[in-house]
C-alpha cells in the first residue's frame, strides 16, 4: 500500500517489501541498462550556460 503524508511517500505491506527488495537486490539486467543509460547521458547530452541561461542540446 502507498500513502502520502506531507513530503513523504509511505510504503507498507507487500509494496514496502517489494520496494526494499528492488533496491537491495536489484536485477542485474536493470543495473546494466541503467549504467548504459547513465553513460549515454554523460557522452551525448550537451549542457551549456550562456548569459546565465541553461541550454541543452
Amino acid at each position: 500500500m502507498i500513502r502520502y503524508e506531507n513530503n513523504q511517500i509511505i510504503l507498507s505491506g507487500k509494496t514496502a517489501k517489494s520496494f526494499d527488495n528492488k533496491l537491495n537486490n536489484p536485477k542485474r539486467e536493470t543495473i546494466v541498462k541503467r549504467d548504459i543509460y547513465f553513460k549515454e547521458i554523460k557522452n551525448n547530452l550537451s549542457v551549456k550556460t550562456v548569459n546565465g541561461k541553461t541550454i541543452i542540446k
Binding site: N7, S18, D20, I31, R34, F38, E40, N44, I55, K57
Partner: protein, 171 residues
C-alpha cells in the same frame, strides 16, 4: 539520444508567456497556469523550469525532494521527484520530453553524488513503460500491482553504485 534540438531552460519567475500552454492533461496544465508552480517555486518547495524552443515556451518540468518511508522498519530513502514534465500538444513527438528527461536524470545523479539521494521518482506514462525499463527504471510498486489502465505509473531509477556496495559487504 534525440535530435539536434536546442532547448533553453528558463526560470518560472522570468517574464515569460505560457498562458496558452496545453499539454493535454488538465491537472498538469493547472499546476502551472493557476500559479501553484510559481508559489511552490518561490517558497523553495519545488523548482519549476520552463522549456523554450525558438523563443516559444513549449513545456515545463517541476522537481522536488521527497522521502520514501518503509513503514514497518522506519527506513527513509531520500529521493528526487520529477513532479511534472510536459510538452505542449503542438510540440509533442519531437523528442523534447526525452531530452529534458535525460537532463533531469543526469542532474539528479549529480545531486545524488553530491549530497546523497537514493533514487529519482517519476510518474511514467504507461505507454512509455518499456522505454523507461530499457533505461534501468523499475516500478516503485510490486510488478503484480501495476494497473496498466492507469495513465501513469510510479517508476524509479536507483543511483546506488552496486559494485561499491558489493565490495563493501565482501570485505
Amino acid at each position: 539520444m534525440s535530435s539536434d534540438l536546442e532547448l533553453e531552460l528558463v526560470g518560472i519567475n522570468e517574464n515569460e508567456s505560457f498562458k496558452n500552454l496545453d499539454c493535454g492533461v488538465p491537472s498538469i496544465n493547472k499546476y502551472l497556469l493557476d500559479g501553484d508552480a510559481y508559489y511552490e517555486h518561490i517558497m523553495k518547495l519545488a523548482n519549476t523550469k520552463l522549456i523554450r524552443l525558438d523563443r516559444k515556451i513549449v513545456g515545463y518540468f517541476s522537481m522536488q525532494f521527497k522521502e520514501i518511508k518503509i513503514e514497518e522498519s522506519n527506513i527513509l530513502y531520500p529521493c528526487i521527484c520529477l513532479k511534472y514534465i510536459c510538452t505542449d500538444n503542438n510540440y509533442q513527438n519531437m523528442g523534447i520530453g526525452t531530452k529534458v528527461l535525460n537532463y533531469v536524470v543526469g542532474n539528479s545523479k549529480n545531486i545524488s553524488d553530491f549530497i546523497g539521494c537514493r533514487c529519482l521518482l517519476i510518474d511514467a506514462i504507461t505507454s512509455k513503460i518499456q522505454w523507461y525499463k530499457d533505461r534501468g527504471f523499475d516500478f516503485l510498486e510490486d510488478d503484480d500491482n501495476i494497473v496498466l489502465e492507469d495513465s501513469t505509473v510510479k517508476m524509479i531509477i536507483d543511483f546506488r553504485d552496486n559494485e561499491v556496495v558489493e565490495d563493501y559487504f565482501e570485505v
